[in-house]
């Protein structure tokens, strides 16, 4: 029961924090420097690892599809399988998981240490609301950067699949035919679907990590615990939300 009330409390405080932060959106032009800094941290620094991982995800998808489709002669459809899987599911998912691990943990650690060392209290007494200075620029930055990360994940994954398809003797599909089947089955709607997912995941990760960071109490040990909790909660939420968002988007 205690655990249940804690979950409800977490949801409630996150929603509240979201509302309060969004209300400060008009101050974005004044905080443009902070917004750009967060774009850099969320987008630019996460980009290389997103690209590397997506490349291998695309490659593995192509390899596995080649192996399993060989039996019923469906090898020529590998392009569409990799295309759809990356765009609808794995691109946004990988970007979100890496965001949680790389950026979410850093946000939780920074805000938790600010809370523990009373910097957040100092902001409050200075009449600078923490949602305005600490949360809103991060939310705005993730909204802008998340689709970029997801699109790059998609593209790199598609090319990874193409390279493996032409380089593996047992598959041996050249890039033009790989991409032509991909074009046949992959619609703009599918990519859009993935981008909507990426936005939802990204916002959730940043919001949850900010909320957990700002609600930390105690000392250095609690900072570590907050980071762990932030990443674990983010990953669980990504996977749970994934199901419901997919359901909603396919139904729409």
């Amino acid at each position: 029961m205690n655990q249940f009330t804690r979950i409800l409390e977490g949801i409630g405080s996150s929603v509240l924090l979201f509302g309060r932060s969004v209300a400060y959106l008009p101050t974005l032009p004044r905080q443009f420097g902070r917004f750009i800094e967060q774009c850099y941290l969320i987008g630019y620094t996460t980009l290389p690892i997103v690209a590397i991982l997506s490349f291998f995800i695309g490659s593995v998808l192509a390899l596995q599809a080649g192996y399993s489709m060989e039996n019923f002669g469906g090898k020529q459809f590998i392009g569409s399988l990799v295309g759809l899987s990356m765009a609808r599911e794995l691109g946004p998912m990988m970007a979100a998981i890496l965001l949680a691990g790389r950026v979410g943990s850093a946000i939780a650690a920074e805000l938790a240490s600010m809370k523990v060392y009373q910097e957040v209290d100092a902001l409050i007494t200075m009449n600078i609301p923490p949602p305005r200075m600490l949360v809103m620029p991060r939310l705005a930055a993730v909204v802008v950067m998340m689709p970029v990360l997801a699109i790059i994940a998609d593209l790199v994954g598609w090319f990874g699949g193409a390279i493996i398809c032409s380089a593996t003797d047992s598959i041996a599909i050249d890039p033009p035919s790989y991409f032509s089947t991909m074009r046949m089955f992959l619609k703009f709607k599918d990519v859009l679907n993935g981008l909507i997912k990426a936005e939802i995941f990204g916002l959730t990760v940043v919001l949850v990590c900010c909320n957990i960071g700002l609600n930390t109490r105690g000392g250095p040990r609690e900072i570590g615990a907050a980071v762990t909790r932030a990443v674990v909660v983010s990953l669980i939420l990504i996977l749970v939300l994934d199901y419901f968002v997919t359901k909603l988007l396919t139904w729409m």
């Binding site: 920074e110 240490s113 600010m114 060392y117 009373q118 910097e119 209290d121 100092a122 409050i124 007494t125 200075m126 009449n127 600078i128 200075m133």
Partner: protein, 270 residues
């Protein structure tokens, strides 16, 4: 209680509109779970006064301070600043108050300059040139000109406290609150900080409340001293009252004798 009225100066940091504010604490109680930290505390601080709140560790001094800035909400009773409820968020827009935290609470990711410039930038008090003037003057008052580009991690304990005071000063506060400003400092630095607190009040006519267990600070700069023990206000009056306190607990707190024949911890064990 006669309090020498200070003439408000027209200096850069004097409380702009409104001037110094008074604090009224009425029947304030605070519970954390089953422990009662503050028990029906009532007193008031006059505008422009230096009020020192003393008491042993864990007596609820810092919690009381947090109620004044609205970081803690009372279980019962209330705190008002010139009639504004301290628990309301709106009050922070009406009354400019600055709290100097015990550990400084400087922003570790910012240089000393940016720490000081944050408040005027966020509240658009001046343009960058004006802010620079303000910040440099505050640093000058506290002899910190050389620390301007340093980061909090590079400062000594005494410097951190002075930077925290400078940061509070830049806010042009109507109410300055200090949480243990002289703890963990050597005797000379403690005396310096006490002098700074008294001088700032003289020059800028701010209401000042200091939470401390520094006897020298209380006796030398306070207009009035309150003593809090186990969440209750046990003594309130001018510092001269403290030279011969009637209450034996207060006497022991202010002038503890080291008695090796009959040590205190033995009493605690039994």
């Amino acid at each position: 209680m006669p309090i020498a009225p200070n003439k408000a100066s027209s200096n850069a940091f004097s409380a702009g509109n409104g001037g110094a504010v008074g604090i009224a604490i009425e029947d304030l109680s605070k519970r954390f779970g089953s422990s009662e930290v503050l028990k029906n505390v009532s007193f008031s601080v006059q505008p422009g006064e230096i009020f020192v709140l003393m008491g042993p560790s864990g007596s609820g001094k810092s919690v009381l301070l947090k109620h004044i800035v609205g970081l803690e909400l009372p279980t019962s009773g209330r705190v008002t600043l010139d009639g504004f409820d301290a628990a309301a968020e709106e009050t922070r827009k009406q009354v400019r108050m600055a709290l100097v935290f015990q550990a400084g609470a400087l922003f570790n990711s910012m240089s000393v300059y940016d720490n000081l410039a944050l408040y005027p930038r966020e509240h658009r008090m001046a343009n960058e040139v004006g802010i620079r003037d303000k910040v440099m003057r505050a640093l000058q008052i506290l002899s910190l000109e050389n620390a301007v580009q340093k980061f909090p991690a590079e400062l000594s304990g005494g410097m951190k406290k002075r930077v925290a005071i400078a940061r509070a000063l830049v806010m042009e506060p109507q109410l300055m609150l200090y949480d243990e400003p002289t703890s963990e400092l050597d005797p000379v630095m403690s005396a310096t900080i006490s002098e700074i607190i008294a001088t700032l009040r003289e020059q800028y006519h701010v209401t000042t409340m200091v939470v401390s267990h520094d006897r020298d600070l209380a006796l030398n700069i306070a207009d009035r001293v309150g003593i809090l023990m186990a969440g209750k206000l046990v003594s309130l009056g001018p510092p001269s009252d403290l030279r011969h306190p009637a209450d034996p607990r207060v006497a022991d707190f202010l002038n503890p004798k080291i008695d090796l024949k009959n040590p205190r911890f033995k009493h605690l064990e039994s």
